[in-house]
Symmetry: D2
Subunit: 454 residues, 4 copies
């Protein structure tokens, strides 16, 4: 019978699988519903790091006031307050008056410390939480500082609410006391890990095991003078090149597939006698190409890849889970987190996306085909954006509006959901904060009431 | 010490909470990655229901061929094939020739059965899977038939690939054999449960316990002639009205908050002497309003709420988790699933959304403020779209392009992620199918190669 | 020689033609530059008509004040002021107190008159100019009243600047004096003449010469049962039907071309033996179809043609100068003037268009193909929007947000630049007024200053 | 009486002015209607210049065939054909075989000539018309070559119809004969004249009278350290600087107004004692700034001004007729002709604009405010795009996708309708050609027929 066979094979069936999936979806949905509003107790934080908008001199005295209050406000039954880390540049700032407050407040000696970018990067566990003063840019700067693990971030604006700065600095004492004493909602904001892979003609040493070396054969047809980027070379070639691949074997390079396909086509056009492109006789071996990871950035809003100074449109190949999705003919691409959906992505026509949704937003900049519309992909998908060898111009990448890295022909960028998200402290909860920021920053709810036509 | 206190209270801390969240997100992401590509064994399905594009006479003979092949093709070591359900209208169709095939094929007597809409609705467990023949519209019709649990649906197109019809009918034998023998990928497509709540002046009986009764006090100021929709009446009022609320107590109606606020404002404007709106003396009690759920629809693509025949723009109030999000001044709203992101929502400017993303798409139709952009909200959020009493025109709702229900002033619609998703059989896997459908149906990847400007 | 032949033939040559065109374009451009800023002297206007937002009771006393001031303010060396026409409904308005002011001010007897919609339509030359009080809707109402010639219109807003209401009523005395004494800039706003042509099975009498009768033969193939809408019948058929066409002969109906083509195609599909559709033997004659103009509307903003209450998308055929442009598959079409570019057209995605540009804006509503983008056509082009016989639903038209006329299968609407534009008095000049209205009404210039990212 | 006073003053009245305007509009409309379809006789053209897609070797032999046919085909009763100019690079091309055809065809000696870019620029009257072979890019290249007067251009595509290439090269003999013998429709395509004005600290010599010198005073407040860009200096200052302004006096610089306003504001904020910014005592004089025109480009499609390699968004000030319109915060601006409405402007969201409409299209690239929508301004308006001194980054301009000129802080670009339009030969007429190109190139009319949902 039907049920018998299913028991004997022990396989899951379409029906039971379906209901498992349904159950799972329901559980996940319920979990996220709870997470969205659950308040958690903040466990007596002892240390706080303060980041302010760089270069804004008017902020220095406000920062000093905040620092003194944080250090001297008694907490948890102890006389003194929190240990406070401020930017090491303030130590010598005339406005900050470090020497002066050191004299006047004994607590300064033990509780005031200075941070450097290196300390943030390497010792983020020193800080129980972070306070930022400024606009969304200051929060992005905090994300830039903490490229690995990030402590919870409590962000103050200085008058005008931003998408990432729910707290008003005018009432900082009230807000900080409340957050420490009554607990908080946290929005765990996904970041994107962007890794630049460089193309190089010479093979690349992976002796330290840090780089995953990937090889590609390039052949040239003697007859047609067509270049042909082939399949991955067999192992003996790798050894011949003096390279020991890591355990997983050489990672499949999506570019190879494209190029193989493209050159086959062009080859077939130029060899009317029907000789196959794989015909070894008509090929010569060229040195292998290698791509290796060079740099990695975590972005909170988006990475933008565009044509930079070139006046030609850029041509980019987009891959998802090593499958070729499309060839992008546009001024560029914005690849954004839901957090970034209210920033650059919105300017390029992307949808407003609630920060809880596990998606990556791909928004073309001035796409040259009308059908290339803004798109959302699951955050579990690995994306790659490649600059093909045939591109007339290079591409340029910027990360949360910073950096400016050139991607040359043959390079690519891998973009995945990061493993170190960016936790932000909510003023109310993540939904209310988000809708409020839409309302204030976009004037989202600012409508002109329906008027009578007569 | 810090760690001591956290142990003694037993509360989770911000830090540990954060890392739990990170871990959970990682687990969910990994799970969805696997689900996306995992192939499952189909457990010897015994029965199949066939739905074809209604009214297309050319399909009847194709359907007959398919039916005969399904019944006669031996499976699982047994002489005969599957039990096949066809539309009961075919029983008397001249083209289907039921009597004729009944004579010629003995298997027909035992294996050919007829379905009616009622059978689909009430006994969906009779069918191990569903086959559709036609376009996306036929798949939507299947969703319409199975408003509760849905068997896995395998959809064939008749030449031109649709977003929901990955299989080519020209090779149906190959596809069906492969699916039964080698297993399948399933895309579990979220549906939206849309419930219409009607406003009624008389109180509504809830004796059967099926309706959750909700009451609202409406008062009118004698002085200003302003109507005032108040808070929910206390329990004694409910009893006075002869209504026994169910256990949960009266469900909070988001509309009440809006109206209370609005009328307070208008009242204050018209009473310069400063009398409060809550001043009982200046109020008279009006009969209570009630809303009750009337009808429920499951939609696979979208529900559209628009101004219908009215030439005035519609005014709608949008709520999420009983929080007022915005007042919509537009021709209407499309509220879509990710599946529906390639349908009406796209025409209205929504983003293409991978079917795996747990989101609800809200896309305004010709919004009257430029800041009301297409938006994605978590599928765990409960939405309500209300037609306020002050609206100049009523609104009209349609469900997957069907139905056409009027929402009058005071009515609203509740929209939530449905508990009975729509499982579709993939040709490859859900990502590949989706990208292929974009490519074919939208000509998504159909680009004109970069041309030289000189 | 070359020059010789050109002289002898006397024809214009490509070269000289080109330079003539260049010169003409330059002249037109210079003319429009001057028109844009030229101030003209207003020739001692004697009479003014006042239109206020209907139903707004608060405006009645303001209107009374304005009326009294206009009548009593001495002008041109005469003791009394202007003759003022107000809405005849005010004669019996309790708030307007006609009897009261008649007693108190002798000038009322001679200078206060009452208008009715009929008077506006038939005797617009009675009024030297028009004053409107209210929002853009009141200006649209003025356009509705003056469907033929329109006097210059000076429009006041009551606090919030609209696109069509540049003057602030708070300073009406100042504005009106200045305009009368120092002259004005006028923006001549193009209107669209929208004529509804009805399809009728019976021939239509044109005895009064008012209707231009147009006939169409419809035949049906006996074999294929395909209907076929043929060429226009020859004159003898017209006479046989008892109809005398006017001098120009029957106007060519663009629909006929489409339908002939479409049915030929469908016929050819169903007659594999290759018999021509024009084969008289296989046809039977059906009664002729006629379309005749039924109603005409002048619109200042736009005409919208949409699917109305239907849940099916509408299918419309769009013609320009009797050439088939495209088949519209969308929720509908907005066809707007440049004045209307800031109204409904903008909601549907149209461009902001300076009122001086001689163009008609065609903007689809939720188009079902991504390539159907908003479009601008010359104002010298005649447009027709037809509801084809094959359309599943009818269409509905509204005019400046008013009216609501159903277009059934076979009907169409003709849209041309109107011959009676709508002259509005500028506060400064047409460009400055327009940019100011963008800035205020759209918050166009309301930018958030660039913020530092670090 | 009323009429009497109007006669005595002799001024035009609002009413008569209005009807004059109406008449003018009607005349212009009728003229453009005729121009759109009028066929003109081509006056026996004697000489033709051929431009082909550069670098496309496959075109050389096709060009040779075309050239020989044009020279040898007898015309106007004479034995030989036209005089043909080809690219001087072909003289030494191996594929073109100049020596070979010179030997074989005696006509070559007298009728084949070679063009250089200089010849095109300086002697465009040598050529009766131009033939281009290639895509739209080749037509843009023709526009680039003829920066002053342009002969009529007949453009052939090589298989796929472009927006600017209506003729199919496969039938070139037929098309050319027809055009020469039967006459043509010409579309006179507006170009934009783009002039770059550079800012320089030193005064600029205008001895040759070619440059119009413009000066600006910059002062700095001693108290507030605020820079202040003042009004234009009086004449004595100009003389003191050794500069003789041309007759018109110094052209007003729109930038000055902006900066004066901005710095006044900032000054007032920092001087609470209320001292005016014009208070000479608190100012010191700085060297004057000058802008002078450096380069001029005629563009057929568009000029794009963007942020180039910078990762900061650009800030641009946009002026129309020396009135400040808006501050642009965006990735950049595309300023396009109607011809360019189907090119880059469309990618950025602009409307499709019929080539006959006398308008300039302004389309922001990824605007940072949602209200900055694509806009059409009259072609009689002078536009300026300025890079303010306060901008964090410079801007880059490209012209029809070529060039790449940096605009630094203080520079601006003036954009006006050019005086030398680009005449193109129509295949049918300008409307039919345009709609056909939409249909083919955009797949504009390529619709998926409405499908039944059930």
């Amino acid at each position: 019978t039907k049920s018998g066979s299913s028991q004997s094979t022990g396989t899951s069936t379409a029906k039971s699988y379906t209901s498992q999936l349904v159950d799972t979806a329901e559980v996940v949905r319920e979990a996220s519903r709870k997470i969205r509003t659950a308040k958690i107790k903040w466990d007596q934080p002892q240390s706080v790091l303060i980041i302010t908008k760089p270069g804004d001199k008017a902020l220095v005295s406000k920062t000093r006031d905040l620092v003194l209050w944080l250090m001297t406000r008694p907490r948890y039954g102890v006389e003194n307050g929190l240990i406070v880390y401020v930017d090491s540049k303030l130590q010598k700032s005339r406005r900050f008056q470090y020497t002066d407050i050191l004299e006047k407040h004994s607590v300064v000696e033990t509780h005031l410390k200075f941070w450097t970018p290196e300390l943030c990067r390497d010792n983020s566990s020193l800080f129980d939480f972070v306070i930022t003063l400024g606009g969304d840019g200051t929060v992005l700067f905090a994300s830039w500082l903490f490229q690995r693990t990030v402590p919870p971030v409590m962000s103050f604006h200085l008058g005008s609410l931003g998408f990432l700065t729910p707290f008003d600095f005018a009432k900082y004492q009230h807000h900080i006391d409340k957050v420490i004493e009554r607990g908080v909602n946290i929005t765990l904001r996904m970041r994107l890990t962007c890794t630049i892979y460089r193309c190089t003609k010479s093979s690349h040493s992976s002796a330290d095991g840090q780089y995953r070396v990937r090889l590609r054969q390039v052949r040239r047809s003697k007859k047609s003078a067509t270049s042909y980027v082939g399949d991955w070379g067999p192992c003996e070639n790798l050894e011949a090149a003096g390279i020991t691949p890591d355990g997983d074997g050489p990672e499949m390079d999506p570019m190879a597939q494209v190029y193989a396909k493209e050159t086959q086509r062009s080859h077939q056009q130029s060899s009317p006698n029907g000789s196959r492109v794989h015909d070894q006789d008509s090929m010569e071996s060229l040195p292998c190409y290698t791509t290796y990871p060079e740099e990695t950035f975590e972005v909170l809003n988006e990475v933008v890849i565009d044509r930079g100074p070139s006046s030609s449109m850029s041509m980019l190949e987009l891959f998802g889970d090593d499958q070729h999705l499309t060839t992008v003919q546009a001024d560029g691409l914005a690849i954004a987190t839901p957090t970034g959906s209210t920033a650059y992505s919105l300017s390029a026509g992307g949808s407003l996306t609630h920060p809880e949704i596990p998606a990556i937003l791909i928004t073309p900049l001035c796409a040259h085909t009308l059908s290339f519309r803004p798109m959302l992909l699951p955050d579990s998908m690995d994306l790659r954006v490649c600059v093909p060898f045939g591109s007339r111009s290079t591409a340029w990448a910027s990360f949360d509006g910073r950096g400016r890295v050139e991607l040359r022909q043959g390079d690519h960028m891998k973009i995945t959901a990061g493993s170190t998200p960016f936790p932000t402290v909510c003023a109310e909860d993540q939904s209310k904060d988000w809708f409020k920021s839409l309302s204030k920053s976009l004037k989202w709810n600012d409508r002109i009431r329906q008027k009578s036509y007569a």
